[in-house]
Symmetry: C2
Subunit: 354 residues, 2 copies
């Protein structure tokens, strides 16, 4: 058995893999891969996939769910285009690679970006605090969890301005108050489903108010909300598996139960990092991510030895992102506590060997 600590695309529940494989062979007599997206059986899948997001996150009325394609990368552009108003200004928090990408893409479509908080001074090893949210801007944007650096917002920015969040890597991992947001978007390939779908949770009142002179139909959330994610052919299989996964999530206690499990996994691993003299955490303690645990060896010269040990234990996906090095244990919803225990045991054994 392999223990998949990969950062995404990542582990999903084994039952979901099994059900997905079955549907590739037989979904009401056809393969799910050959079913028309207009067929009533798939329309029902899409409807359920949208409804289950509302159920899992207690999405209040006045919000719509949309499944699109293009990942958060296209989401950066879609967010900027759809939230752009009279000032064409926006406030962004820069907490690393993906937040920087969101800033870059907003600028590319003509947003005057005010980066009012950033942790770039310490290589994104913390979450900025004590910032002043600007006034006179169209919206505020932040990235809730920073997959590469291993930091996570423990509380969200408080503002009366429209709030936009790229929640790709921690959505469905803990309870959130959707009413605080005007737009949430998330690539599916962490806690939602396989790569190829991107989720949008949209406050209906933001729709149709863009001031951008360029708004291709595919990038206009209003079109997709009106067509219930069927403006054009959706990523059928990715949406189907997302639906299976959301069913599984709810059957296993929902987001609150996942939050508890994720806290337990994080506590187990961070305790080991803090108590084991051969390891150290890579980021500020108070800003540590429960999804992506980044850590370093205190003696880098022993990397080959440690690497051989965790690989021998069936662990995969542990190297840190190519841009930062070290180690990263991604512990998405579907990663069992037992897998974390295997890693902790390897770390203890590594220390015992001295």
């Amino acid at each position: 058995m392999k223990h998949n600590f990969g950062a995404g695309p990542c582990i999903l529940p084994q039952e979901v893999f099994k059900e997905a494989a079955e549907a590739v062979l037989d979904f009401n007599g056809l393969s799910i891969l050959e079913v028309s997206h207009r067929h009533k059986d798939f329309v029902a899948v899409m409807d359920e996939a949208m409804d289950l997001v509302k159920k899992a996150l207690n999405v209040p009325s006045g919000y719509s769910i949309v499944y699109l394609q293009g990942g958060a990368t296209l989401g950066f552009t879609i967010a900027a285009l759809n939230m752009m108003r009279e000032t064409k200004k926006a406030g962004y928090i820069n907490t690393g690679t993906w937040a920087s990408g969101a800033i870059k893409e907003a600028k590319k479509v003509g947003v005057d970006v005010n980066v009012f908080a950033s942790s770039e001074d310490k290589n994104f090893t913390y979450i900025p605090k004590n910032y002043t949210i600007p006034s006179g801007v169209d919206y505020i944007h932040f990235t809730s969890n920073n997959t590469i650096y291993g930091t996570q917002f423990k509380s969200f920015p408080k503002t009366d301005l429209p709030l936009v969040c790229d929640m790709s890597s921690d959505i469905f991992s803990k309870e959130i108050n959707v009413a605080d947001f005007d737009l949430i978007y998330a690539g599916a390939q962490k806690n939602l489903g396989p790569a190829g779908a991107t989720l949008y949770i949209v406050k209906d009142e933001i729709l149709g108010k863009s001031t951008s002179p360029f708004l291709p139909t595919y990038l206009d959330l209003k079109q997709h909300v009106e067509k219930e994610s069927m403006y054009n052919t959706p990523p059928v299989f990715s949406v189907y598996v997302a639906m299976l996964n959301l069913r599984n999530l709810i059957a296993n206690g929902g987001v609150k139960a996942m939050e508890d499990r994720n806290n337990a996994k994080a506590t187990l691993l961070y305790n080991e990092i803090d108590s084991n003299p051969l390891f150290k955490g890579a980021v500020e303690t108070e800003d540590r991510s429960n999804m992506n645990v980044t850590f370093l060896l205190t003696d880098e010269s022993r990397a080959a030895e440690f690497d051989a040990m965790w690989k021998g234990a069936g662990i995969v996906g542990l190297p840190g992102h190519r841009s930062v090095g070290g180690y990263r244990a991604s512990m998405y919803n579907a990663l069992p506590l037992e897998s974390v225990q295997v890693l902790v045991d390897v770390m203890k054994e590594f220390a015992r060997k001295g």
Copy 2:
């Protein structure tokens, strides 16, 4: 057994479904749905998926293959943005819904569109001919096969201008000369693979020459060519299944063999439509599509009777598009001749019953 005449997402080879289902359960020890796109095993898949396109279509040197997301709908925008040059003018042929969509999206990003040929006067039931291709425009755009109406270009526009084609519904169904084109794009969900991937065949010399003031990174083909379709997380499973399907295509004789089979299927069905007094073709004979065969009852009042018969024979996906009515038998590469024979037998039986 069902006979899937659906217009897309559509039938793929049964062996491909089987191999795809196996990979959902086990792809080198993990599910293909949880493998990182940066893992060498998936990088190899992406490389093969790109190489097999080149092999299947004899793509000459100087062209690159890219897999993206968003379907041809986002392709309409990507084509316009990447082909826009000094004049910001382009010539489009309007042969129906998808061609009209391409025109609409080009205009939305600032292209001055000259529709120099159109079959709108007869509800898109033919392919325009004897048109004059405009000069002094940046590029020429057309749609090779019109899924909804059932028409298909039998020869392509001849021009020295950059030629762009939405080939979503007939790519890989017949031999083409890629060197005639500067850009070909195609939603995967007909002859390539499941929904969720979009193929681009790009002449390298067009890259980086856009004059659009608006060019988000995800819409810039240069970025994707440079990153070999890995600028951001690709639609992993859709690309994997496309690779399986291309392997299957080549193992079964390649595009030329498919073309021969597709001709045989089309001949069988069109002959029945023309010889059976209860049916008539929906479009000009010389412009009939080999992919999407549209036809009508000569006596519409007998529709319920005919519908019961083909449904009873296990046929699915035969109703015409909701915007045009009638019937549409989509006969993509993977549809066996035997399925067409089943439909023809039903039509003969319908006539025999009088």
